[in-house]
Symmetry: C2
Subunit: 203 residues, 2 copies
């Protein structure tokens, strides 16, 4: 019953995933999954903290050996989730948080049907666009591209188990809702057959 849960979180750029996940990780029962990549480390990035930096050969070997829960190629580099990290943390009873796009999320669900998929949505498309503009750092073409990607990703919401709406500055509420989802799932009967023992389990 106390085994950890694999929590996959997706949502469009600008929806506030990062802030919600940061809040969630204040709870020590949660741990963030570190991705592997074949791209070079940027200044300040540390191996095993920001990413596991691996060679292309090594990454491809991991794919063939089914050591990746999901992966994607993006502008010539591979990015993916190493299975071993996730499994070892779940075994320790931690809830493992993956922040990935819809394609990755569906790959994970097919490999780990017990994973819980949560989509973080904006209250409206208008609100999402305002937030993207509010960052002030992106030019019009970037915003347009992000809105287009967002619309595509939103088309996958109903493949997810849950959808929470991240209202402006309500990220604490959103994080609490995700914690409630995890707590509820741990009591879900479909997750495992419940057996009440004859005698108390003295742990």
């Amino acid at each position: 019953m106390n085994k950890g849960l694999l929590l996959v979180i997706s949502g469009p750029a600008g929806v506030g995933k990062g802030t919600v996940i940061k809040k969630l990780l204040e709870n020590k029962d949660y741990v963030f999954s570190v991705s592997a990549t074949t791209r070079s480390p940027r200044t300040g990035e540390e191996d095993g903290i920001n990413y596991y930096f691996v060679t292309k050969n090594e990454f491809q070997r991991k794919i063939r050996a089914n050591e990746m829960l999901e992966y994607a190629e993006y502008v010539g580099n591979f990015y993916g989730t190493p299975r071993s990290f996730v499994m070892s943390k779940l075994g320790e009873g931690k809830n493992v948080v993956l922040e990935i796009d819809t394609a990755g999320a569906l790959q994970v669900k097919s490999q780990m049907p017990d994973a819980v998929l949560v989509f973080i949505g904006p209250p409206s498309m208008e609100n999402l666009e305002e937030r993207l503009r509010g960052r002030g750092t992106e030019d019009e073409s970037v915003i347009e591209r992000r809105m287009k990607t967002a619309k595509k990703e939103l088309g996958f919401i109903n493949k997810y188990d849950y959808c929470v709406i991240n209202d402006d500055s309500a990220w604490e509420k959103t994080a609490r809702e995700i914690e409630a989802i995890v707590l509820a799932e741990k009591h879900s009967v479909k997750r495992k057959n419940v057996i009440i023992p004859e005698k108390n389990n003295r742990q």
Copy 2:
């Protein structure tokens, strides 16, 4: 999204259902479903508070008119859940709590597939028996009968959506777990298709 949820709670006698439900009802989003019965009111019992007291004819008419979500006959009297009360409270956005046995719970689920069924179990059968004895008011034959009924009811756990274990004096934790289940279910995608609107919904 804000419509209330129908919450069906079962569990063996002695498991502490009453205390957990009392705690849950401190939250004003929850309301307890008042049953209908054909038995006579006992001293102090009020119509519409403890039960809806109805005649046998009226009860049978309600059954025929499909106005009962579930019902059972017990030592010559009918007991059941009037659909109208439940529907009106759900419409007001309240979460409606039904405390019924496993047979009734499965009747409700077949009529209202959106109902969420929660079983409150003891940490062990030994612990349940200790609690039944601890009441000190029941003789041996009553305890034996209750343990037999409990074993039978526990056979239905895996027909429920969730099972929470009510440890000794942990009823606040159990109530919090049930609240988490309700909150999670309200964000469940299978419960309804999620559509992110173009513009903010000004309410």
